[in-house]
């Protein structure tokens, strides 16, 4: 320090130590992950469209379309699961322990329903990944998204254990914000896929 005058001071001792909201670094990490995985999802969707445009018949002739009932139930369950997720996030922001535990308790069965319906959806796909390119891309999209769904559900279970084990700390409340943000990404990213995989082949 070569200054003639003594240095001026910015005093940060009165600033909050950590936050529980989107200003927190970890929230930004998840924004990064969402940008990366969102790009990945977009690329698989682009692949679907590219292969569709390049084919004379899409789906290939004689291939039954995937049913509509289970995918629609799965879609509805995903949308429903946003409710407890948002509830958890708001409760965490208010530091309302009772509400955090209540919404967490609600979220687990809804998440389990989503995963169950998703496995039913996969079981009922009327073709396999190695049947044709159409099968390959449908299975890949469903598989990639299901991986996210399962990983995110496991994360929710882990958080639920922590929420019930002890009074949620600042870190746990922040994790609930981040978890809710990520869950929103996982559920909403299924909207274009649902339209692409299950509705668009029926528009003819």
């Amino acid at each position: 320090v070569s200054a003639a005058a003594p240095p001026a001071v910015v005093d940060v001792s009165s600033l909050p130590r950590g936050t529980v909201d989107s200003r927190e670094l970890i929230w930004w990490a998840f924004a990064g992950i969402i940008a990366i995985e969102g790009t990945m999802f977009a690329i698989t969707a682009a692949t679907y469209l590219y292969l569709a445009v390049k084919s004379t018949d899409w789906p290939p002739l004689g291939t039954p379309l995937p049913g509509l009932l289970i995918p629609t139930l799965d879609f509805a369950a995903l949308l429903l699961s946003i409710v407890p997720s948002v509830g958890m996030d708001r409760a965490a922001q208010r530091d309302d322990v009772k509400a955090m535990r209540l919404w967490t308790a609600w979220s687990l069965p809804v998440d389990a329903l989503c995963v169950t319906l998703r496995f039913l959806l996969i079981r009922n796909l009327p073709f396999r990944w190695n049947s044709h390119a159409y099968g390959s891309i449908v299975w890949s999209i469903v598989g990639l998204h299901t991986f996210h769904l399962v990983a995110s559900t496991l994360e929710s279970i882990l958080l639920a254990i922590i929420v019930f084990r002890e009074r949620p700390t600042q870190k746990t409340r922040r994790d609930l914000r981040v978890d809710g943000f990520y869950w929103l990404f996982v559920t909403l990213s299924w909207v274009p896929f649902y339209v692409l995989l299950f509705l668009s082949p029926r528009w003819k």
Partner: protein
């Protein structure tokens, strides 16, 4: 308590808080961004040396017609490993490593935003690289070119495990690139010194941010692509199989949607290094700061809209070809803006011709040449003539070596004193620069001519009647000079590490914050964190410095600031050394490697990674408030 009164005590406490344990525990658990970046740089240069040896063997083979140094099969592995190593294991990691080292120092904070994740990124990169080279050593070196076109790389024409190893390694190591990108973005946007608004961000940090955003949007494409490839190869999907509704060109589209931005990912950080070096050695603020930032951003945006110029030869509609020709040529605009800004800075300043500046001058000449052949190749009709010839090899080596490696070497001479506390030797540095410049041109300029004479890329030999022997001999002689220059460089590094001149905090009289602390920086980077009043804080010190006070030296507290104006927002505590990063990298690595041989690998990887993640996230007991006072 006044900071000046008990400065040594404060430094001692900070050192204890931010230090890395000694011995093997420290090696395996360190989360210090400087230690990790240093490992990246050293590892990247080991891969650089390996890829350099591969190049040397290829030059030896091609030095005369009907060469018999290596077989055709081994030659295929050599050029594939050379390209793959240089792009994935050297260029991108080494550039990101400079970002990981310099960004926290330049924005005036104590570590990157996610120190554990950062450590994991390194381990993934290391394991991925070792994985590829173990395969090569066992005779399973990838052999379908660094861009592994299908159907050549598909299950029918590339049986065995070679391409599997390649595809898995790509998916795996790109994880590391993505991790570093997120680190750099968040550190640059959230941990800047108070007062360092975006308009005062050093150009090197801008270049790292732009590069990182490109990584975020480009790398997923190649990860999806290499995953499709391995699925086609291992479980019988049909993405690239036209007989079952797939499409071979899909591979190329996805690959080049990543592959073209990849080139800019490699040289954009180089441009930032050039701006830093030019400003310091011209002894003035860089001319056209805003224009330079906008040029970097424009390069990034344009970089995503011209991948198809790699595919002119596949048969495109003319309208499409014209679009990508125009988009490709437009890159010359932001590049030109930057070159003129640097020239203006040098012209208006008082240039000091130290080694870093010599490399920058070399860069300016070579980058412009590479740019010119780039504009030539952007023209679809000319490209059809030159496609897959040595002209293309010449072009991209001018862009990549001229545009990225010259600035990188300049950057090494420039920041080596900061990282090690000692200056590199100037005399050896000049020899290095001169030999490298001459050797480079001798090697690669003749390739333009060879390409125009019709010599295709990737042929392991050629007949005497072709008349290509003399120019090839010249190119091989140039390669000897390049090798000599790298040896001079290594000697310089080894010698200077032991006996180099002591650098002091700011040997070049530079303006940015990394020079406001000791060389090498202590584990906590700065004893007194700074706030800044302008873009060149160390050139404004007569106006008085501003320091940040009120962070506890007893925990790893860092100041988080607002993303645009860098106003102090809150204080957060970063994690310390941890064993989980290496364990998670190992778990994921085992999964990736094993899954080539059996689907159980995926299960094993998921279980191991899940266990490591749980350990990673499990809440540790926070220190009691009274311990932090």
């Amino acid at each position: 308590v006044s900071a000046a009164a008990d400065a040594p005590a404060l430094a001692g406490t900070l050192g204890k808080t931010w230090g890395t344990p000694r011995g093997i525990v420290g090696v395996l658990t360190s989360v210090d961004h400087k230690i990790i970046a240093r490992r990246y740089v050293v590892t990247a240069f080991v891969f650089f040396a390996l890829a350099g040896v591969e190049a040397a063997v290829m030059r030896l083979q091609l030095s005369r017609p009907s060469g018999r140094v290596v077989s055709a099969d081994f030659y295929n592995q050599l050029f594939t490993m050379h390209g793959t190593t240089m792009m994935f294991l050297f260029a991108v990691p080494v550039m990101e490593a400079f970002g990981l080292y310099l960004v926290p120092l330049m924005v005036g904070t104590r570590n990157v935003s996610f120190p554990k994740l950062n450590a994991m990124g390194y381990w993934i990169y290391l394991f991925g690289g070792i994985f590829l080279y173990v395969g090569f050593a066992l005779g399973a070196g990838a052999d379908a070119g660094w861009f592994s076109y299908v159907p050549l790389a598909g299950p029918q024409y590339a049986p065995g495990k070679r391409v599997d190893l390649w595809a898995q390694m790509i998916t795996f190591t790109e994880l590391s690139a993505l991790i570093s990108a997120v680190e750099i973005i968040v550190t640059a946007f959230k941990q800047r010194a108070p007062g360092m608004s975006l308009g005062r961000l050093p150009l090197l940090v801008w270049s790292m941010v732009v590069m990182s955003f490109m990584v975020v949007f480009a790398m997923p494409a190649v990860m999806v692509d290499s995953t499709f490839l391995i699925l086609d190869r291992l479980v019988g999907t049909h993405f690239f199989n036209p007989a079952e509704g797939g499409d071979a060109l899909l591979w190329q589209h996805l690959f080049w949607f990543f592959g073209h931005p990849e080139v800019y990912i490699i040289f954009v950080p180089g441009l930032g290094m050039v701006s830093s070096i030019v400003a310091t050695f011209a002894r003035r603020r860089v001319f056209g700061y805003t224009a330079l930032v906008l040029a970097l951003v424009a390069t990034a945006f344009l970089g995503f809209s011209l991948w198809v110029h790699h595919m002119f030869a596949v048969g495109l509609p003319w309208l499409g070809a014209s679009f990508f020709t125009v988009a490709s040529m437009m890159i010359a605009i932001p590049s030109g803006v930057q070159v003129f800004c640097w020239i203006a800075t040098l012209r208006a300043g008082r240039p000091v011709p130290k080694t870093p500046l010599l490399f920058v001058v070399g860069f300016l000449l070579l980058f412009v040449l590479g740019g010119i052949t780039g504009v030539m190749l952007a023209s679809a009709p000319l490209d059809l003539q030159l496609h897959d010839t040595f002209f293309v090899v010449a072009h991209f080596h001018y862009v990549l070596i001229g545009g990225a490696l010259f600035p990188l070497f300049g950057g090494i001479y420039y920041w080596f004193p900061k990282a090690t506390g000692r200056l590199l030797d100037e005399r050896l540095g000049r020899w290095h620069a001169a030999l490298f410049f001459v050797g480079f041109n001798l090697t690669f300029f003749p390739m333009h001519l060879l390409g125009m004479h019709g010599m295709p890329r990737r042929v392991y030999t050629y007949l005497p009647e072709t008349g290509w022997g003399r120019l090839n001999a010249l190119a091989s002689a140039g390669a000897v000079l390049i090798a000599a220059s790298v040896v001079v460089f290594l000697v310089n590094v080894v010698k200077s590490l032991r006996r180099g001149e002591r650098a002091g905090a700011n040997p070049w009289g530079a303006a940015t914050l990394e020079w406001a602390t000791d060389s090498p920086p202590p584990p906590y980077n700065f004893r007194d964190l700074r706030a800044v009043r302008g873009a060149d804080p160390l050139w404004m010190e007569e106006e008085g410095t501003v320091v940040v006070e009120g962070l506890s030296p007893r925990s790893r507290e860092v100041l988080v600031t607002s993303p645009l104006d860098a106003e102090p927002d809150h204080v957060t505590v970063l994690p310390g050394p941890s064993p989980w990063p290496i364990l998670l990298a190992l778990g994921t690595g085992i999964g990736f490697a094993w899954s080539i041989f059996s689907p159980w690998g995926i299960v094993a990887g998921a279980v191991l990674a899940g266990a490591a993640l749980t350990g990673w996230y499990w809440p540790s007991t926070p220190p009691k408030p009274e311990e932090l006072v």
